[in-house]
């Protein structure tokens, strides 16, 4: 799997020995993603040396597998010839991503050596908002007129020599680029050479609008098992296609965002180890401070009930158990719903079904835990009323937690807010306050406490 970790020291030794032909042989045996990983594992000067040994036609693909930081570092040391080649040959979506991250000065330099057409392509792609279909798409795809025959279509494909992942569907358009139909490379091979594209094309196909969200794109890929999806504007003119390899990244990225939100971390755009310390700290401290301030409410609340603690100090023993269990039950519910919403399994219209189900779930879980809590408190302190206080509070708090945990994500989702923020710390804090309030109110009644 991780070949590059094994070969990096060997390559470094060969570089020291200036044994370039041996390096060339090794690199020729590696696949592009492995060479990209190798380059990233080397010192910058070493990487630049290796790049010189890679053939001109193989390099753009390797370059496109580098992360953006490495791309920016390496392209500053490329010869003009190699640079031109890279800028022309790399996939248009990844080229646009690169341009989004470079300085205006570098952008100007790169533009100056690119053709008018390529420049326009970059300018178009970088205008789309992040996380939209437009920002994900590549502008390389096979496009033919409806009257073209299958034999001619094969010839056109041979000449344009598109990249691997963009050739599996052929799009049929009119002279204004309006998308009329689509057929697959398989259809092309199956059909007789003299048939016209319009005869074999499928007119009942899935497409997406430029400004649609990438989450929606991912749902379409999952539902229809697509390899590529055409992106159109409001006039149905095709602007590009999204390929399945990008969707794998989108799903991973969306899930990572949800994981981070559920752990009260603002989204970190790059990989954890590559993000500078102060950025990670900044992404973490905001929520921690906000939650600390929210805990002040719990603090104030317990102070408000300190008369109860003064009479029955043992009440303090069970606060962590109570608010902890509430947090756990609430987090379970919230996670089930948030994940169901993310995978498209749950919709807002299921809210009543979910409410009914989670109320029963809360009562079931609450009754079991409440009974145990009663026993625990009673056996520990020998006071049946304290036992009942803990038991009833647990039962009630868990029922409420299960209910809030399941409904909150649905409401946030409906309101257009990402429901992932409603699990984890945010919910836990709300439930903390709720449990303290319920606990001391029940205690006041059952233990006859007066202020």
């Amino acid at each position: 799997m991780k070949k590059e970790h094994l070969i990096t020291p060997g390559i470094q030794r060969l570089l020291n020995d200036k044994n370039y032909s041996a390096i060339r042989d090794i690199v020729a045996e590696l696949l592009s993603p492995d060479i990209a990983e190798l380059l990233q594992s080397l010192e910058h000067e070493e990487a630049v040396e290796i790049v010189k040994l890679i053939s001109l036609d193989k390099f753009p693909e390797i370059f496109s597998y580098l992360d953006n930081d490495s791309q920016i570092l390496i392209l500053q040391d490329l010869t003009i010839g190699r640079l031109k080649n890279v800028l022309n040959e790399m996939p248009s979506d990844e080229r646009a991503d690169l341009f989004l991250r470079i300085t205006p000065k570098l952008k100007k330099q790169l533009f100056s050596i690119m053709s008018e057409e390529e420049r326009k392509d970059v300018e178009e792609l970088i205008q789309y908002k992040e996380n939209t279909a437009g920002a994900l798409m590549t502008t390389e795809f096979a496009k033919i007129s409806p009257e073209i025959s299958i034999g001619e279509a094969i010839e056109i494909l041979r000449k344009t020599a598109l990249k691997r992942e963009t050739i599996y569907y052929i799009y049929v358009t009119d002279e204004k680029d309006k998308l009329l139909g689509v057929f697959s490379l398989k259809d092309l091979i199956m059909a007789p050479a003299e048939r016209a594209a319009s005869e074999i094309m499928n007119t009942n196909f899935i497409k997406i609008q430029l400004n649609d969200d990438q989450e929606e794109v991912a749902l379409l890929f999952k539902k229809y098992d697509l390899l590529a999806l055409p992106v159109v504007d409001s006039l149905d003119n095709i602007h590009g296609i999204i390929t399945v390899d990008d969707i794998v990244d989108v799903i991973e990225q969306e899930d990572t965002e949800d994981f981070h939100k559920m752990a009260a971390i603002e989204t970190i755009p790059e990989a954890y180890l590559k993000t500078p310390f102060h950025i990670v700290a900044k992404k973490r401290i905001g929520w921690l401070l906000l939650l600390l301030i929210t805990y002040s409410i719990s603090t104030q609340l317990i102070k408000h009930y300190s008369f109860a603690l003064e009479s029955v100090i043992a009440l303090a023993f069970f606060i962590p158990m109570l608010s902890g269990s509430a947090g756990n039950a609430g987090t379970q519910s919230a996670t089930l719903i948030i994940r169901g919403l993310a995978t498209g399994e749950i919709n807002f219209k299921d809210i009543f079904k979910i409410m009914r189900r989670e109320i029963f779930m809360g009562l079931t879980l609450g009754t079991i835990l409440g009974a145990l809590g009663f026993l625990r408190a009673y056996l520990m302190q020998g006071n049946p009323f304290l036992g009942l206080t803990v038991g009833y509070s647990l039962a009630l708090v868990i029922t409420i937690a299960t209910f809030i945990g399941s409904i909150l994500p649905l409401i946030l989702h409906k309101a257009g807010i990402d429901p992932a923020i409603s699990a984890g710390p945010f919910l836990t804090t709300i439930l903390d306050i709720t449990s303290i309030l319920i606990y001391f109110q029940i205690a006041k009644v059952l233990l006859n406490l007066v202020q």
Copy 2:
């Protein structure tokens, strides 16, 4: 998007009116996944009616998009002819999944109408353990001998008429099925018809072993942007291929498992709304009980320090703030690491880098939150020593939480245990106990409390 929700009532009305030709027209306009969704949204008898209106050659694909429960329900009402057709035509990986979920009796019935060859195919596929490459693969793929010419290969492909997602690579094997090389449909179109397969095939390709885990499969797809991956045994003989549409499901399933584990829910195999109430309750109660018992330790610990509470009742006010903040900081760290491990970004070898980083992170976050905690407690109670107790405890507890939160997942991962269980409630409970211990120990010293 959700066309089927709109058309279901219309279809039901047409069924009532016995207007079958209108239904046929509507169904002909829909894509297979949409028809599958429509069937699932109807009553069983209605669905059976609709199935009769679907053409024989279109039905197997639609059937393969149904969930397993609907498949089992519907196949019992199929005519023998349609049933045979479905069993022969549906993708072999999905057929094997179906056979894994039916009763032995039904299995025997279905086997009796299948050919010897198809039966053997099912028998082979169902033997592989869940979540391995063998269980994911399909046995339909294009296989040719090395001496075959490109022109002949195209003819073979035309005749075998493989399904859409399995045709994009052609595998070159010797007479014993040993995998020699691979080329893509694009290579096929680009190459001259008279060239031999052995001349254009790529011998430097990615493959995976039958028993390798599906997580590893997903990592390979992501790294190499694959559309399909050949599955081989220890002799390098090819047994099947895994296609990218299945990987999208694998990634989603793996992430869902992690989400559930991090929320202390045992993995629920089916979708939330489809899982019976008592199963969900069972998956939730185990962890909740375990955590409740763990909270008993906190309870016991606070009781142990009740002498401190009796002298300074205000100590009780800050327990939720302290253990809550510890839990939040720990969860943040754990989530960053768990997600990094899942996406392959972080490896165990990074442990020292991560330890160093997270200790500094903990000190930074702890200092800021500790200073605020000091202010909060001092201003609230007017006691500088209480303020210092809260402040120091917060700082220390957050440093420890950040450290444990980041190291625990790495250690579990190294030990072969899924690190996802180390975030969320499990970690929170450990940190709960730690914070109470630290808090009261610091209080004892700073507030001069004696037992």
